[in-house]
Amino acid sequence: MTDLRSETGPYFGAFGGRYSPESLIAALDELTEAWESARNDEAFLDEFRALLRDYVGRPSIITEVPRFAEHAGGARIILKREDLNHTGSHKINNALGQVLLTKRIGKTRVIAETGAGQHGVATATAAALFGLDCVIYMGEVDTERQALNVARMRLLGAEVVPVKTGSRTLKDAINDAMRDWVTNVENTNYIFGTVAGPHPFPALVRDLQKVIGEEARQQVLDLTGTLPTAVTACVGGGSNAMGIFHAFLDDEDVALYGFEAAGEGVDTPRHAATITKGRPGVLHGARSYLLQDEDGQTIESHSISAGLDYPGVGPEHSWLADLGRAQYRPITDAEAMEAFRLLSRTEGIIPAIESSHALAGTLKLGRELGPDATILVSLSGRGDKDMETAGRYFDLIDEGATQL
């Protein structure tokens, strides 16, 4: 019996740590202590659970998808429906928890980075709910491909700053959010969106997302009488994956699979398959796998999915990969889009393009594992935000038509 679940950082094996400017260490210490105290405070946890129930709509349901599963070698496929959460993805779990923590440490302004916009929307939502000032950093490229989410954040009262430096995507949004935090740390808390970054963020975000796996493990047991053969999720930074994996880490018979964005293919320069193709290094405050050149300069990633378009990955995933506890496999843009369409047509569920990477990986995995397997998939978000990308990809929008 392993004991992987009790790991709290700052190190996950050789990964993690705090490679951050000294100016931020006091704030990281403060957050670490605040979380240590909050996670053992029943009043805090009750408030968090009440929000998850009455505001997010938890527990999220599970849905078995037999018509989709016909394309996966007949394996039984069960979706954990994080797409049905308020704001449309798993990101709200973490944002609400960290905004509660912000209140607890007495700060009045929150900042966040966002790629696809889901974490930005979740943070803007939580900030609106608690009356906090909110600034969201978003790469300029992403503001263009996720214009609807920009509008949502603004409607919720957040300021959205398009980041024009570097590759103008998620990694540069994190850099600018860090620069804001260094400057305004006295009144500002950084609501980090994924299980990466300096300690305590990998452990903190994982703790706030682990409800996904805790619910799903029991729901699958109730439905099938046994644990699933495998659990699958997409991995960008890796928060939905850690969220669903965590409850199963010490269930040694349950295989764990993370699906990374392979973009145009892992043998091309245009992908975001960090564990598949990267090597260990330091980015954004933690040691982890990283897409980098021989000099340690970060290589720009590519994915059709803004939420997976990140050249790093959370340190706990790097640790699980090195231990062999979880396997990480690449899924191309084309494979993800095919799964996106397949789930829509067979089950009437339009998934986020991020989550479609998990679905595509699950289709392949089901054919490997055969009809006796049961696969639990993290459906981390819904695809409403992706309709413009999908419309262009599948040529679904009539020529000349505009949305008024």
Binding site: Y19, P21, E22, A26, D29, R179, D295, G296, Q297
Partner: protein, 262 residues
């Protein structure tokens, strides 16, 4: 290897302080960056802080980001820093520190990096995103080679952390003047003076202040209580706008802040 320490000690004996000038390698091109570093040393800069361009410089503001992005786009490779140190040291007798984010050193190998820097005549490293807590590899490599190592202290650092930073730094402690990133500021708050006092109480011999310093008057003010004034963005902007003559003139102007400082 105590070039930086010795320079600061000699200036203190003379009743003065150090002007420390930052410029990134490879901006606007390799040779001009070397010429510019030499020019500021010939115009009153006592210690050169050579920046290593990096893709994700979280402590840097717009001026330095723009310069390092251009250096990277112009084909900067890590090996160029050793060649730059070698050429600068051959032309001027001032200590040369490298200011580098940590991942390039990890990928090069901290021991190999230290050997190559030592062989090139470099004095040591300033590490903006490496705190002593994570610095075991660098502590070992710098102990073996004798290279100087400059950690950062911030206004938000606890007394306990200031003690650690002071104990483990060699050369000086980079005293962050204000909570923020690099870039010229018209006014500096009192945080730098207070932090310098706290560092001295923690036992630090040499405290040099950086972030936001862009005028001779600010240099004069900082040197009234600290051992060095570090100027970066103002020099980079001068180089960007007027080339080597402009950065030389800017250095000479900043150096006028040294003369009557104490």
């Amino acid at each position: 290897m105590t070039q930086v320490h010795d320079t600061l000690a000699a200036l203190r004996r003379d009743g003065s302080g150090a002007l420390i000038g930052y410029l990134p390698v490879g901006f606007p091109d390799f040779q001009t960056s070397v010429d510019a570093a030499v020019a500021i040393a010939e115009n009153g800069v006592d210690i050169i802080e050579l920046g290593v361009p990096y893709s994700d410089p979280v402590m840097d503001g717009a001026a330095i980001q723009a310069a390092t992005v251009q250096a990277l786009a112009g084909g900067f490779k890590l090996a160029h820093v050793f060649e730059a140190v070698r050429q600068i040291r051959a032309r001027v007798d001032v200590p040369v520190l490298l200011m580098t984010y940590w991942n390039p050193v990890i990928q090069y190998g901290p021991e190999r990096f230290a050997d190559d820097l030592l062989a090139a005549g470099g004095a040591g490293l300033i590490t903006p995103d490496l705190i002593p807590d994570e610095g075991a590899d660098w502590l070992a490599a710098s102990d073996r080679t004798g290279l100087e190592r400059i950690f950062l202290a911030a206004p938000s650092s606890s007394d306990e952390r200031l003690k650690t930073v002071s104990d483990l730094s060699r050369g000086f402690v980079y005293t962050v003047s204000t909570m923020g990133i690099t870039g010229a500021r018209s006014e500096m708050d009192g945080a730098a003076r207070a932090l310098t006092t706290r560092l001295r109480a923690a036992g630090e011999n040499f405290a040099c202040v950086g972030l936001g310093i862009s005028s001779a008057e600010q240099v004069r003010d900082v040197l009234s209580y600290a051992d060095g004034a570090i100027v970066g963005s103002a020099l980079v902007s001068a180089l960007a706008e007027g080339g080597v003559p402009a950065v030389a003139a800017k250095a000479a102007e900043l150096a006028t802040g040294k003369s009557e400082s104490k």
